[in-house]
C-alpha cells in the first residue's frame, strides 16, 4: 500500500517538519542560555524521516528511538509542551523530568522510549514486535537508529532474531554519514546499511531521506508488508545532520563548505519546492510556517513556566512497591 497523499496531507506534513525544526531551534536557543540540562542532540536536517515514517503509524504502534529522537516523538503525536517540558526537566514533562532528552517515553502514544546507549533499544523494539505478534492485534514496532549503530553487535543480533521470528519490526536507519566526529568511511566498510539485510533474506531499501515524499512512500510500502505479517523490513534513509552532533559541538571534523553544500539538501526546502510546483503560494507556505512557529513558541513558553519536580520525590518510581526499595 502506497498511501496517496492529498495536497492537504502534504501541507500538513510541511507543517510537521517546521514544528520539529522550530522546536529544536528552541532547544538550541535555551541550551545556549543554560536552561537545558545535559547535552541534547538535534535532528535538524533529518526531519523528513521522522514525519515520513510516523505518518503511517497509529497510537497502538510502538516507536523506539535513539539519542536523536525529538523529531520522532513529535511526529508520533506527543504534546509539544510535555516534550519540551521533559527536555528542560519539568514535572509536567513526558517522564516527569526523570528522563530528559535521551529518554523520552510517552506510552499512551506508543512512544516506548529513546536510549542514550547507541543501538541500546533495537532489541527492545523487537520485543515489542514480538508482543504485537503474540497479541495479533495488527500493530507493528518501529525503531530509529543511526549509521553508527550498525557497528554495534546488538543491531545484528536483532536483525537475525527479527528475520527468524518474522517479527513486525521496521528498522529505520538514519544514515547521516557520521557517528559523532567519525565519518562513515572511518567506522564502517559497508557501502549501504541496507546491505546488511540480504544475508537474512530481509527486504530492504535505501532512499533519499531528505525527500519527505520518497520517505513516505517507501515507509508506506514497508509498513504495509509488516502489517500483512511478512516480517521485518530495513529502511535506510540517507540524510545529513545540519546541526552539530550535540548542542555545543565545535564541529572540527567537518568543513564549513561541506555543511554549507549540504544545506542545499534541507528537507524543508525540498518539500517547499515541491509544493510551490503544485501551485501553493509562498504566502500560504509562510503562513503554515508562521503557525507552526506560533504553536511551538507557545508550548515552549508554557513548558518553561511549568513547575520543577519536587526533590522529595526523587526516589519514586524505582520499584513497583515501596517495600522493595533499598537505601
Amino acid at each position: 500500500m502506497t498511501t496517496a497523499l492529498t495536497l492537504g496531507d502534504r501541507k500538513q506534513m510541511y507543517r510537521a517538519l517546521w514544528r520539529i525544526r522550530i522546536f529544536e531551534a528552541q532547544v538550541q536557543r535555551l541550551a545556549a542560555a543554560g536552561e537545558v540540562p545535559g547535552f541534547p542532540h538535534l535532528s535538524t536536517g533529518q526531519e523528513a524521516v521522522a514525519v515520513g515514517v510516523c505518518a503511517h503509524l497509529t497510537r497502538e504502534d510502538a516507536l523506539f528511538t535513539s539519542h536523536r529522537g525529538h523529531g520522532h516523538v513529535l511526529a508520533k503525536g506527543s504534546s509539544l509542551q510535555a516534550t519540551f517540558a521533559e527536555i528542560i526537566g519539568r514535572e509536567s514533562g513526558l517522564c516527569r523530568g526523570r528522563g530528559g532528552s535521551m529518554h523520552l517515553v510517552d506510552a499512551t502514544r506508543g512512544v516506548m522510549g529513546a536510549t542514550g546507549v547507541v543501538a541500546g533499544n533495537l532489541a527492545l523494539a523487537a520485543g515489542a514486535a514480538w508482543a504485537a505478534q503474540v497479541k495479533a492485534d495488527g500493530s507493528i514496532s518501529v525503531v530509529f537508529f543511526g549509521d553508527g549503530a550498525t557497528g554495534a553487535g546488538a543491531f545484528h543480533e536483532t536483525l537475525n532474531l527479527a528475520a527468524l521470528w518474522k517479527l513486525p519490526l521496521l528498522f529505520v536507519c538514519e544514515n547521516n554519514g557520521y557517528a559523532e566526529f567519525t565519518s562513515r568511511e572511518e567506522h564502517s566498510n559497508v557501502t549501504q546499511v541496507s546491505a546488511f539485510a540480504a544475508p537474512y533474506h530481509v527486504p530492504a531499501s535505501t532512499v533519499d531521506g531528505n525527500d519527505l515524499l520518497i520517505v513516505h512512500a517507501a515507509a508506506g510500502e514497508a509498513i504495509a508488508r509488516l502489517r500483512r505479517g511478512d516480517g521485518p523490513y530495513l529502511l535506510e534513509c540517507m540524510t545529513y545532520r545540519m546541526a552539530g552532533h550535540f548542542v555545543g559541538d565545535a564541529q572540527h571534523y567537518r568543513s564549513k563548505e561541506e555543511v554549507a553544500a549540504l544545506k542545499e539538501k534541507c528537507p524543508i526546502e525540498r518539500l517547499q519546492r515541491h509544493l510551490t510546483g503544485q501551485g501553493v503560494t509562498q504566502a500560504e507556505l509562510d503562513a503554515i510556517a508562521a503557525e507552526a512557529r506560533q504553536e511551538v513558541l507557545q508550548a515552549v513558553e508554557r513548558a518553561r513556566a511549568d513547575p520543577r519536580p519536587d526533590p522529595a520525590t526523587v526516589r519514586d518510581y524505582v520499584y513497583s512497591a515501596p517495600a522493595l526499595a533499598t537505601s
Binding site: 536510549t115 532489541a123 527492545l124 520485543g127 503474540v134 532474531l161
Partner: protein, 322 residues
Amino acid sequence: MSQTFIEILRRALDEELARDPAVHLLGEDVAAGGAFGVTRGLAEKHGQQRVRNTPISEAAITGLATGAALRGLRPVLEIMFIDFITLSLDCLLNQSAKYRYMSGGQLAVPMVVRTQAGAAGGAAAQHSQSLEAWLAHVPGLVVVAPASPVEAYALLKSAIRLDDPVMFIEHKRLYAMRETLPENAALPRIGTARVARAGDDVTVIAYSAMVGNALEAADTLARSGISVEVIDLRTLLPLDMATIAASVAKTHRVVIAHEAVRNGGLGAEIAARIGCELFDELDAPVTRVACPFAPIPFAPELEQALLPNTADIVRAVRALSG
C-alpha cells in the same frame, strides 16, 4: 512424592504458563528442554509460541524480553550460565532496571531472568562464577537466589507475578536436590529472608547452595554445644535487614557465607550494614566465609582448595565463639 530442584522449577513454570497467557519462556535450547532440562516438555505442552528457542544472542534476547515486558508480556528468559549475563548487562542495567524510573512511572518491566551460577566439577573459569553482587548493586532490579526446591518453586512463581525485573539465580549444585512440595504452599513474599534453623550463639547468614553448608556446619557445631542460627536470605536485593537484626540481637555474632569472591561480594554489604546499623549489638567482628580472590581453576584439587565449604564455616563460627 519428592522432586528434584529441576523438576520443581519445571512445575512452577508449567503452572504459570497455564495460569497466565502473558507468560512466555525464551532462551537458548529452551524449547528443546534447555541445557539442564528445566523446560523439558513445556514447548510440547504449551506450544512453540510460548516456549521459544533463541539464537546465541544474549544481548538481543534480554532486550527482546524487556521490550515484550514493556508491551504486556511476562517473559521468563533463561541465560544458560550467569557467566554470560555479562552480555545481557547493558540491557539489564541501562534499560530493564531503569525503565520505570526513566519513564516517570509510565512503564514497568515484569520479566524474570533465570540463570544458573556457581562452581562444581571442573566447569572452570568461565562457567562457574557467582556474580550476584553485580546485580544487587543495580537500583530497579530484584535478585532472588533460592536454597532448596520448595523455596525455588514458590520464589519463581512470585517472581513471575512481580511487576519488576527479577534476576532468579539457580545454583548448579542444587539441581539434583530433592524435596516434596507441600500442598497449597503459601508463596513467600519476595524480599523476606527465612530462619532456616533457629539458634542462640552465632548467626550464619547464607543464600543459595551455601545454606546447605551452613546447615551442615550448624549440625557439626551443635555437637560441640554451639547453637547456630542459619538465615537463608532468599532475596538478595532488597535485603531483609529486619530478619537479620532480630537474629543479631539474639546472638551478637555473625558469619556471612557465600561462594562468590569475598572482595566486593554481597557479604560486604551485609557486613557493612550490620556494622553500621547494629554496631552496639556486636560482640565480635562480622566474619565472611567466601571465595578467595581468584578465578575458578579447572583441576578438581584446585577448585576444591579455592571454594569455601562447610569446614570453613565451622572454623569461622568457632573462632567467633572461642
